[in-house]
């Protein structure tokens, strides 16, 4: 009688089922018109392109401030958008499903609670990823012609001053480092990883919080506190002794060290993003996302509706 057999037996962490919930969450957020932010972003980035900044640079460095400005404004917007979306959207989705009783109809189907949670998180992650991808594309589209124009102007100025071939090459390398580089794409990836971490934290908070406001406030507090995690860990627990080691471990597990994600400013200044630093951001994100999601499941699995 029952023809719905392809997902049997109902085991948790079924990728197709997670994909269905993730796709639905993505659609839900898109239809809540969160992509309107992209229009705002486009206006900001294009506006930054035409910004006339007071310059303190010598003529041979003319135009570089504008490149800094475009990157700084774009990455700043990306950070704000992704963090707000990570906390608010994730914190909103679960309580809303409970309040609207849509959760009843989902959990009354053969859907393990872990799949539901992971699906929701993946849906938010997909939205943030695609949004950042669109913003990254727009930033590069604005940055590339600007960088070319600045490079041509600087090379022309250098040639007028009879610069050597080596000098021209150095100028070219310096200016190109301020344009669309792989490091810049890496910085956008770091922004994504940070928002993914915060989204998983918001998911954990929303499993026991009764309001989105509480989730948002605590989420941002943890984000803020995370910037001082390393200092606090050393100050409170020192480096030696068994109790200190346990204290450091607990603090490390509970509170992410947000310094791992402090790589964006250096990239804006044209410094390369080292693979080791990117690797540490990825590892840190993976650790906290898995830890927070597991903790979310432990709470959610026992929750009654």
């Amino acid at each position: 009688m029952n023809s719905a057999s392809p997902l049997k037996p109902t085991r948790p962490f079924h990728l197709r089922r997670i994909g269905i919930i993730a796709t639905h969450t993505f659609t839900q957020l898109v239809r809540m018109k969160v992509f309107y932010f992209l229009a705002f972003f486009a206006v900001v980035v294009i506006g930054a392109n035409f910004l006339e900044l007071p310059t303190h640079a010598s003529p041979e460095n003319a135009g570089t401030e504008l490149l800094y400005s475009i990157k700084s404004t774009s990455l700043g917007c990306m950070s704000i958008f992704s963090l707000v979306l990570g906390v608010v959207a994730t914190g909103l989705l679960l309580p809303k499903d409970v309040e609207d009783r849509t959760l009843y109809t989902i959990l009354a189907k053969p859907v393990p609670r872990l799949d539901y949670l992971v699906g929701k998180l993946c849906g938010v992650a997909l939205l943030i990823f695609l949004s950042l991808l669109a913003m990254d594309l727009l930033m590069n589209l604005v940055l590339q012609p600007r960088m070319t124009a600045v490079l041509e102007r600087q090379l022309e100025f250098a040639r007028q001053r009879d610069a050597t071939e080596a000098t021209l090459e150095r100028i070219s390398a310096d200016v190109r480092a301020l344009g669309p580089t792989w490091s810049l794409q890496g910085a956008v990836l770091v922004v994504f990883l940070r928002s993914l971490l915060i989204a998983s934290l918001a998911l954990l908070l929303s499993t026991f919080s009764t309001s989105t406001l509480f989730t948002a406030i605590v989420g941002f507090l943890v984000l803020f506190a995370g910037f001082f995690q390393a200092e606090a860990r050393d100050a409170w627990f020192g480096h030696h002794g068994g109790v200190a080691q346990v204290g450091r471990l607990i603090m490390t597990v509970l509170l992410p060290d947000m310094q791992f994600y402090n790589l964006v400013d250096a990239v804006i200044e044209g410094k390369p993003l080292k693979a080791i630093h990117l690797g540490m951001s990825i590892a840190s994100t993976a650790f906290y996302v898995v830890t927070y999601t597991f903790a979310s499941w432990l709470i959610f699995a026992r929750k009654e509706f």
Binding site: N2, L7, T10, T27, R101, A108
Partner: protein
């Protein structure tokens, strides 16, 4: 034969998070529903009907006792393969259309491709929403939401359908449509566990009923057995003349031990009158 639903001495106590008294919501309730049966659980608000249903669906964990669906423990996810559930006042995702809603729930149950498309078409027709399949649920009326809710409950062709106040807030015409759908489910051999405080509705569709009050099952049995008055017999005549009635009364008076209790015209219900009158009116 394996029971469709087997609730055995279910107890549910809600413990307060901080202060306050414990609430005994369900107290030693046992229900067994045979496959193909339509069972109605009735009781006033707050009597424990919804908690019993939620325990059966694994949405709340029993404090003691067990709930089984076709032999499977209801706390196991697998038990929900065979169940369709329509909660009280369902609010589905407003951003989805009727068709997308059914597709979403169907996919969660493992349906896909042409099978899913065919099933969606069949269910939309069954609940009379084919014309509204592309409309978002935000624009649906209360009755339409109940009907799409019923369709999502049936998407994976479950053997058991649990309906919590299926006609709450629905007008008489919508209510009638939902009742007809329950009859259709019974025709197809699907077990229905219905929870309501609308007694007339339960009386009309259920084979067996249980009356729950303050968390306890106070009465349970076949509807006919519960409602029949043992020492009375009802005779309904059509176009009987006054002379015939007089003759019958005279015969009753002559009979030993029998008593004429009353006579008069049988009454229709207000609901039937409403439905008859509204269906007669041209648009």
């Amino acid at each position: 034969m394996e029971a469709a639903v087997e609730i055995d001495r279910l107890v549910k106590v809600f413990k307060p998070q901080l202060r306050g008294r414990e609430l005994l919501a369900v107290d030693q309730v046992s229900i067994t529903i045979a496959p193909g049966e339509v069972y109605g659980l009735i009781g006033p608000n707050g009597s424990g009907k919804s908690t019993t249903m939620k325990a059966l669906l694994g949405l709340v964990a029993p404090t003691s006792g067990t709930c089984r669906i076709f032999g499977a423990d209801s706390l196991a996810v697998d038990s929900r393969e065979q169940v369709g559930f329509l909660p009280e006042n369902p609010y589905f995702y407003k951003h989805l259309t009727g068709e997308e809603t059914l597709a979403f729930y169907g996919k969660l149950c493992g349906l896909r491709g042409q099978t899913l498309k065919d099933r969606i078409g069949e269910l939309l027709e069954l609940v009379d929403l084919t014309g509204a399949r592309d409309r978002r649920l935000g624009g649906y009326s209360k009755g339409m939401l109940q009907r799409i809710g019923l369709a999502q409950a049936l998407i994976q062709e479950p053997r058991l359908v649990i309906l919590d106040e299926p006609t709450a807030g629905v007008d008489p015409i919508g209510s009638r449509q939902i009742r007809d759908l329950i009859f259709a489910l019974r025709e197809r051999g699907i077990t229905v566990f219905l929870c309501s405080h609308l007694l007339e509705q339960v009386q009309e569709v259920c084979d067996r009923v249980g009356i729950i009050f303050r968390g306890k099952m106070v009465r349970e049995g076949r509807l006919e057995d519960l409602l029949s008055i043992e020492d009375q017999t009802e005779v309904v005549l059509k176009d009987a003349s006054p002379e015939l009635l007089e003759e019958i009364q005279r015969l009753v008076a002559q009979a030993e031990g029998a008593e004429w209790v009353r006579s008069g015209r049988p009454r229709t219900t207000l609901e039937r009158l409403f439905l008859r009158e509204t269906s007669r009116r041209p648009d």
